[in-house]
């Protein structure tokens, strides 16, 4: 054989060996595919096909296992893979979906363009997270949250996306339902004026509703959002109790209630009442504290007013109760003092001591009068008054009262209209205002008292002004002025800015009581550091009310001749005796009786009696019951009642009935004498 033949033989043997090896491998099942000799394409053997199918099925099972939507799209957003859960959510079968355009098939119209753009943009990126709505086969919309990665080939070119999606529809619905319920609750609370707060115990973030911000004087959204910021909104005096209440509630996990003052940025104070609840986590530790808050400032103020009214009523009763006895005692003290003063020589060294007793008694009487005026138990005798005359007559006393450091100016308008008021009460108003003004000017200043005719709006008018006009009395000082807090409370009884023991707290309350009782008004303006001005407006007297002549100030007249006889009816022996002494000194014949029965006996035995001076309240029959009988017997008889406070029997709503003379206790020698002369002159 030639060399060429030998080579060919070798090649054939090698090929034969390969063929044998191929057949052996084929028979032993080691071959996967055979290359088709005409098309030159590999054809998988059945076993390899099955194995590959098994593998794909296994992969599919992995994809189908979780309740997560798995979706692969190519660069044109055609679906290349979906899992079973995706099919369940979307309502399509996998074979329906694979190969179709995802955007045309499963997205609502309104989103298609936007999604196509974002799909293109997404291919340039890496991982994207987003939520969007898909439409199921039945047309229902569902919200899916996606996490999508970009698929790339070996050269790094994007060939599509692979996304995992969670169906958020139910969660979103539940969240919406909660939000709706929350919104309804919020509306109910806010419209009821209740603020809401919510403290996250883990982060310390505190949220307040706008209503609650407003309750603390804060604009919407301006609260700083921390518990510390809240504590700063609480009045310093209430902070420790608020902190302790919340701390204890959080420690025990119990509900709690709060009542505290909110300190607003403008310095004002609001009373807030609230309840709170501690919400515990699964491990039992507090996670949130929530609550509501209501502004109770007005309610508290009403409660305060109610308490104030009760206090005033109690004081009134007390005052009325003691006034009778107290005034009897003061009458005796002052009366005998008067008698002694008249008996002593002008150079007697004991005169000074006696004057001290008299002055103290006078002060006690003033205090009683103040209490009675404030409690509206004082008997008032309204007469026509010219305020200019009243103020002018007071001037010497004012000068003594106010001292040398304060200059007193009078601005009294001529042709002042008259007013109807009790002279003593108007004097008391002026004195109280003047004393307060003096106390507001410890280092001196100017006190101005002015009078003027004003119209209803407060403008100065001429005396001929229209009906409804007022007469104003203005007292102005250049003193310290009042803070808004003091101004707000100045008319409260027992409210005083003076040191303990210096003021009764009744001065301004009395002014207010007196002025309003006769139909007037009090206006106050005060500038801190500059001074205060009180303007009182009394209704001017109108024609038909002018029935009582203007009484000339009663002055001590010469001792009259002893022609008249007075019957004194008084159950208190010392008072009876005092009245006898004073009347005798004034030159009257005096008869005494301790009660109504004795009075009737004495009266029947003495036809010469001109005047009956009787107490109002006595054991047995009252003074008015007695005198009604006596006047029937002898119509010319004059009657004077003496009393310390208002008696319904003789006065009507605190104002004396016409034709009845009245003597306020405590009386003095002077006032008793004057009253008798007045009665006898009628």
């Amino acid at each position: 054989v030639t060399g060429a033949e030998e080579l060919q033989a070798q090649d054939l043997r090698r090929r034969l060996a390969e063929a044998e090896a191929t057949i052996a491998a084929l028979l032993s099942g080691q071959i996967d595919a055979v290359v088709d000799s005409t098309s030159h394409t590999p054809v998988l053997l059945a076993k390899a096909q099955a194995a590959l199918r098994d593998e794909r099925d296994r992969a599919q099972r992995y994809l189908d296992a979780p309740d997560v939507i798995l979706l692969a799209l190519d660069v044109d957003a055609r679906i290349t893979l979906v899992n079973r859960y995706a099919c369940a959510v979307l309502g399509w079968s996998a074979s329906d979906l694979v190969g179709r355009d995802w955007i045309e098939t499963c997205l609502p119209w309104r989103m298609r363009d936007a999604f196509r753009n974002s799909h293109r943009d997404g291919l340039a990126g890496e991982i994207t997270v987003f939520e969007h709505v898909v439409v199921t086969k039945s047309g229902e919309e569902r919200l899916i949250g996606w996490r999508t990665t970009v698929l790339r080939d070996d050269d790094g070119r994007a060939i599509g996306t692979f996304g995992a999606g969670a169906d958020l529809t139910e969660r979103s619905r539940a969240a919406k339902a909660v939000a709706t319920a929350d919104e309804r609750m919020r509306f109910a609370l806010e419209s009821a004026g209740a603020g809401i707060w919510d403290l996250d115990q883990t982060t310390g973030v505190l949220r307040l509703s706008e209503t609650m911000e407003a309750q603390h004087g804060l604009g919407p959204g301006t609260f700083a959002g921390t518990f510390k910021a809240f504590v700063e909104c609480v009045h310093p005096d209430d902070r420790s109790s608020v902190l302790e209440t919340i701390r204890a509630a959080v420690a025990d996990g119990t509900d709690f209630s709060l009542l505290y003052r909110a300190l607003c940025p403008d310095g004002s104070i609001r009373w807030l009442s609230g309840t709170g609840r501690v919400l515990l986590g699964e491990d039992g530790t507090p996670v949130r504290t929530v609550g509501v808050s209501v502004d109770v400032t007005e309610r508290r103020s009403l409660e305060d007013q109610y308490q104030q009214a009760q206090k005033m009523e109690a004081v009134g009763r007390l005052a009325g109760g003691v006034a009778h006895d107290f005034n009897n005692l003061l009458t005796v003290i002052l009366g005998y003092c008067d008698l002694l003063l008249e008996e002593f020589d002008a150079d007697d060294p004991r005169l000074g001591s006696l004057a001290q007793i008299h002055e103290a008694g006078g002060r006690a009487a003033g205090l009683t009068r103040q209490l009675l005026a404030f409690s509206r138990k004082q008997v008032i005798e309204p007469t026509l008054l010219d305020l200019n005359v009243v103020v002018s007559d007071l001037r010497p006393m004012l000068a003594r009262l106010i001292g040398e450091d304060v200059r007193v100016l009078m601005g009294l308008r001529p042709n002042l209209a008259l007013v109807v008021a009790d002279r003593g009460q108007v004097e008391q108003v002026v004195m109280n205002l003047a004393v307060n003004a003096r106390d507001a000017m410890p280092t001196g200043g100017t006190l101005t008292i002015e009078t003027a005719n004003v119209d209803g709006l407060g403008a100065t008018t001429q005396p001929a002004a229209s009906a409804g006009a007022y007469v104003s009395l203005t007292v102005t000082d250049t003193g310290t002025g009042m803070t808004p807090e003091v101004k707000a409370r100045m008319f409260e009884p027992f409210f005083t800015t003076k040191e303990a023991g210096k003021g009764t707290g009744l001065g301004m309350a009395t002014v207010y009581s007196i002025v309003t009782r006769c139909g007037g008004q009090v206006n106050v303006s005060s500038d801190l550091g500059k001074g205060t001005s009180f303007r009182i407006r009394f209704p001017r007297a109108e024609g038909e009310h002018i029935t009582v002549p203007v009484p000339a100030p009663v002055r001590v007249a010469p001792v009259p001749t002893g022609l008249h006889t007075v019957l004194v009816v008084e159950d208190d022996e010392s008072l009876r005796e005092l009245a006898r002494k004073i009347l005798r000194r004034h030159g009257y014949n005096v008869l005494l009786a301790a009660d109504a029965n004795e009075a009737r006996r004495v009266f029947s035995e003495n036809p010469a009696i001109d005047v009956v001076l009787t107490d109002v309240i006595m054991p047995g029959e009252s003074g008015p019951e007695l005198t009604r009988q006596l006047v029937t017997q002898r119509p010319a008889l004059k009657v004077i009642y003496m009393s310390g406070y208002t008696e319904e029997a003789i006065v009507h709503h605190g104002v004396l009935k016409l034709g009845i003379a009245f003597l306020n206790k405590p009386f003095t020698s002077e006032t008793l004498g004057a009253k008798l002369r007045e009665v006898l002159a009628l």
Binding site: L26, Q30, I31, D32, V35, H40, P42, L44
Partner: protein, 96 residues
Amino acid sequence: MANVPKPSSGLVLRLYVAGNAPNSRRAIANVTAICAEHFKAAHEMEIVDLLEQPERALADGIVVTPTLLKVLPLPVQRMIGDLSDINQVLLTLSSQ
């Protein structure tokens, strides 16, 4: 045959497979393990998936998969099957 010089460089192999089919997968695993143990870095191996590149079958005259082709050193040798007979594979790869 004795005149053919020994290759200075190492072994060059080409393995034809059909995707992820079981014998192909086994063949890849076996040849990879043999090379890693006996030829270390002195070898190159290309894996050709005929399901992806069917046209490559024609060039080397491949009839079935898996087929391992020893390209270098010459002579070219081919082995058929899953290459589980490791001794036979070693012998073929070492032959000149």
